[in-house]
């Protein structure tokens, strides 16, 4: 991830989003892709009911296996998330998440005021861990019906990515689904509109405050093989990295914090090139 690659990041995000959601006929027919690749999780938050999606959403798949009466503990998805997280941490959020990319594009739109953070930022950031624990793990595991099957609570009541990537295109193209819409759809559209409006104001609000996948990958950031390292001999503590960071993180003090999505803007801004990718010394 050198500086040239950082400048290519929006292109990588766009190409990845299109490649992973490239079954275009689904958008016109109101159907979804049904091939075998759907058993493979994609690294980013990408609804598996998006008409174009070739893979499965890891959060959707995690809930699907947790809610299944025969499994209860999801070895397949936790194994996948552990491998990806330990390798690259939240690099996935910065480069390989279609919903993160969409929020970034929205943030580029002109808006009277742009904020670096919301009031109560520190507390709000803990929300995603609460959502992960309650809506992704505990409720699907323990709030079960008479047949022993649970419900994907995060997908059902919160996920705005599902509403944008699957709910809207499918209900626009599929009249049978359109007729079944009710209060829940209105609730989810309201969440989506809130995230869209917030994205105009601050950078990636869903990723900062609500995303359970970001919460999982964030836990791996401090030890992931892909890490930042501050060269103490070069760093002057000028704070240019924090000023450039769209999340307002003090990168020079804590280069591998749980919130960093590895967008690399700090490295680009550092006047002394003090922020390095950790590499084994030769």
């Amino acid at each position: 991830m050198d500086k040239k690659k950082i400048r290519l990041r929006p292109l990588i995000q766009g190409i990845y989003a299109l490649l992973s959601n490239g079954w275009l006929q689904g958008f016109f027919t109101g159907t979804i892709f049904k091939g075998n690749t759907k058993s493979i999780c994609l690294p980013g938050l990408n609804c598996y009911s998006c008409p174009g999606s070739f893979g499965a959403c890891p959060i959707g798949a995690l809930q699907a296996t947790l809610t299944a009466a025969e499994f209860k503990i999801s070895l397949y998805v936790t194994g996948f998330l552990t491998i990806v997280g330990a390798a690259v941490g939240r690099f996935v959020c910065g480069f390989l998440c279609p919903f993160g990319w969409i929020q970034e594009l929205l943030h580029k739109l002109p808006f009277p005021k742009k904020l670096k953070k919301l009031p109560g930022e520190k507390l709000l950031r803990w929300l995603k861990y609460l959502i992960l624990a309650v809506f992704v793990i505990l409720l699907p595991m323990f709030f079960i019906d008479a047949t022993g099957i649970g419900k994907p609570w995060f997908c059902a009541y919160i996920c705005p990515a599902g509403t944008l990537e699957a709910g809207l295109p499918l209900t626009i193209a599929n009249s049978a689904l359109r007729q079944a819409l009710g209060f829940l759809f209105t609730w989810k559209v309201a969440i989506l509109i809130s995230v869209i409006l917030l994205s105009l104001l601050i950078w990636r609000p869903f990723c900062r405050y609500l995303c359970p996948l970001g919460a999982i990958y964030g836990c791996f950031n401090p030890i992931a093989l892909l890490r930042f390292k501050i060269d103490e001999n070069k760093c002057t503590g000028c704070g240019a990295c924090q000023k450039a960071c769209p999340m307002d993180l003090p990168v020079h003090q804590k280069p591998n914090g749980m919130e960093c999505v590895r967008c690399g803007k700090c490295r680009e801004a550092c006047p002394t090139d003090a922020i390095e990718i950790w590499r084994k010394k030769k």
């Binding site: 999801s74 070895l75 397949y76 194994g79 552990t82 009710g182 759809f185």
Partner: protein
Amino acid sequence: MRERTKNIIALCLMAGGLVALIAGILRGEAADVLRKATMICLECIGIG
């Protein structure tokens, strides 16, 4: 924590993750994911 220790932890986690992933596939979780991912998820789109 030393950088080397972090790398060892990451590699151990990746190895453990791989074992879990394979175990999950063997006990049919990937097939279950495929079954659910190839049906329109009514909860995801705000109907169910």
